[in-house]
């Protein structure tokens, strides 16, 4: 009789339903799922337009969030930071 792991593998081979895919989508984006899970997810995505759209939208939102234009630092931020650091460096003498 198959143990829990064997049962899980059989289930993966058969099919993943949409909820399983949603639960794994973050790990899948990171490439952190097992080989079998990855294959099962990709089989599902190839045949499910809904999950495929969920995956694409999640991944693309992360791309947009990571773009430097989305979260811009205030103008002059770097200059003010280094000015304050310099004042600290000057005031502390050799006690760095």
């Amino acid at each position: 009789m198959a143990g829990p792991e064997g049962w899980w593998r059989m289930t993966l081979r058969m099919r993943l339903d949409c909820k399983h895919v949603w639960a794994q989508v973050s790990e899948y984006i990171d490439g952190a799922v097992s080989g079998e899970m990855k294959e099962a997810i990709e089989r599902h995505l190839a045949n499910c337009r809904h999950c495929s759209a969920v995956y694409d939208s999640t991944r693309n939102i992360l791309v947009l969030a990571g773009d430097e234009r989305t979260f811009e630092v205030p103008v002059g931020f770097g200059e003010r930071l280094h000015e304050r650091l310099q004042a600290c460096i000057d005031s502390r003498g050799s006690d760095a």
Binding site: W22, V25, I29, A53, G66, F71, V73, C88
Partner: protein, 250 residues
């Protein structure tokens, strides 16, 4: 500079569009990132040695690659530009004054982000008079139903030229819990790995993964209905239009 996250690198490499490539390509970029990371670490170790030996001005060079990261980490907690800038400066000064205590067991950037998050949380408590979070809470991933939307394989890179899209992303981020926002900023905006994110936030790697899962899918749920293909001039048709109508409660 720290390498960009994989999904950012893909965008930079693509011809103005992002599409699904699976995760097979992530392995090779991870190897090159590690090599680059090792070089950075050696360079930083040399710099730190020289600073501690008396070349104090070199601290500017040490911290320069992380200016944006300082600000984003502080902003992820405070959601206020002026406070985030002030806390970034305080964190940089604290790092300078405490550089002797940096042991090199983690990356300098991780140590710096941890200082910044602690400063930001402390500022939050002073302003709001209550603890920001409770890291021991077991956050169950729970059931999640994403938004139904039409084909998202392509996003024109010009989309980011639109101010309202950037604003929508910032607003969605602001609706996450502070803990989710921290991990999303460190992992997906700064490109830190799960282990570094865990070290910087003081949470376990498992908890970081759960928070990341919830943060990413919450962003999808919040943004997808606003940013569907209709916004880019395409209307969903056929089966996807039916799905969208069903999601809308018809």
């Amino acid at each position: 500079m720290k390498p960009a996250p994989d999904h950012q690198r893909e965008q930079a490499a693509g011809p103005g569009a992002v599409r699904r490539e699976g995760t097979a390509a992530l392995g090779s970029t991870a190897v090159s990132s590690t090599l680059a990371g090792n070089d950075d670490r050696e360079r930083e170790a040399v710099l730190i040695g020289r600073i501690l030996a008396g070349e104090r001005e070199l601290f500017h060079d040490l911290i320069r690659p992380y200016e944006r990261g300082l600000y984003l980490a502080a902003y992820s907690v405070l959601l206020n530009q002026a406070d985030a800038e002030d806390v970034s400066q305080e964190a940089a000064l604290k790092a300078y004054k405490g550089l002797k205590s940096f042991r090199g067991s983690s990356r300098f950037s991780t140590w710096l982000m941890a200082i910044t998050l602690n400063e930001a949380r402390s500022r939050w408590r002073k302003k709001n008079g209550e603890p920001l979070d409770c890291l021991t809470v077991d956050e169950d991933a729970g059931d999640y139903t994403p938004s139904v939307l039409a084909d998202w394989r392509y996003i024109p890179s010009q989309a980011l030229e639109r101010k309202e899209l950037r604003q929508a992303l910032r607003e969605a981020m602001a609706r996450l819990s502070p803990e989710q926002r921290e991990v999303l900023i460190l992992r997906d905006v700064r490109g830190m790995n799960v282990s570094e994110t865990a070290a910087a936030t003081g949470a376990s790697e498992g908890l970081v993964r759960v928070r990341l899962f919830r943060a990413r899918l919450s962003m999808q749920k919040l943004l997808a209905p606003k940013l569907g293909p209709m916004q880019f001039g395409k209307k969903p048709r056929g089966f996807m239009a039916w799905l969208a109508r069903k999601a809308g409660g018809e």
